[in-house]
Symmetry: C2
Subunit: 157 residues, 2 copies
């Protein structure tokens, strides 16, 4: 049992500021989407991924990996999106276990309608507050972090 390596005052301050900033940011973005487009941010992200794909279809597992989201969460989410007619499931032709999530025209239209407001919200909440150098650093730090955490996750299962 080794001694705990407590956070230094600077680290504590950074961590607290991070938690505050991120809660406010994500809440603001999520609230805007819910209010103006009736969908949580998580669903918006799913629609974006699908719309960015050539045939607007992805396997559940690929989608889950790309969004860093659990299979269960995605499955529930796709079920909701299906109820709204924004996504439809299809059997995967090459693997009978697999399912494809396919963006419908209605889903694409919903995304197109939501996008401008969402982008404005992100800009207003995040990019308007930061200068280009800060954006640069935020991007680099996030990428470092995402890589670190993803590799860690693979190691520990």
């Amino acid at each position: 049992m080794s001694e705990t390596r407590w956070l230094s005052p600077d680290e504590q301050k950074a961590w607290r500021a991070y938690l505050n900033a991120h809660r406010l940011l994500l809440d603001a973005v999520d609230a805007q989407l819910r209010r103006d487009s009736g969908m949580p941010h998580a669903y918006y992200e799913i629609l974006v991924r699908l719309s960015d794909t050539p045939d607007r279809a992805l396997r559940m597992s690929v989608l889950a990996d790309g969004l860093r989201v659990s299979a269960s969460r995605l499955s529930h989410a796709i079920a909701r999106l299906e109820e709204r007619g924004w996504v439809r499931r299809e059997d995967c032709p090459t693997d009978k276990r697999g399912q494809l999530a396919v963006l419908t025209d209605e889903g694409f239209a919903a995304l197109a309608a939501a996008a401008p407001g969402h982008v404005e919200a992100v800009r207003g909440a995040l990019f308007d507050a930061l200068d280009p150098e800060q954006v640069q650093w935020l991007g680099a730090i996030s990428q470092t972090l995402a890589d670190h955490l993803a590799s860690r996750e693979r190691r520990t299962g």
Copy 2:
């Protein structure tokens, strides 16, 4: 109706990386606390705030403000913490509408037991991946952002 100011490629990349990093980080921290201490991160934060206060008691509204959390969310959370015996409610002596959330000895003990594992998790997930310069920038950016978003929230209600 003005033209949407879409995100530049750099901004898009930063935003995506940010979302990935943030989700992985918070999920990792939350999962560790749930697994090892049976509490979600949100509850841990409440206990920390209370334990940092001279008499381990705060008014609901002060606590909610400090944690950037809605009154409703806090009220439900305190109800759960009360069931576990970690927090107790008291009437506010100066304002009959008010309630104090008071950290019990059991709550303090639960926090003390959870802290080392949590700190290790934060260190392993975040600070081990970043060099001191990055930590510096992350802290500064987060602070800028938190101030920006908090002032925005006050303006718009």
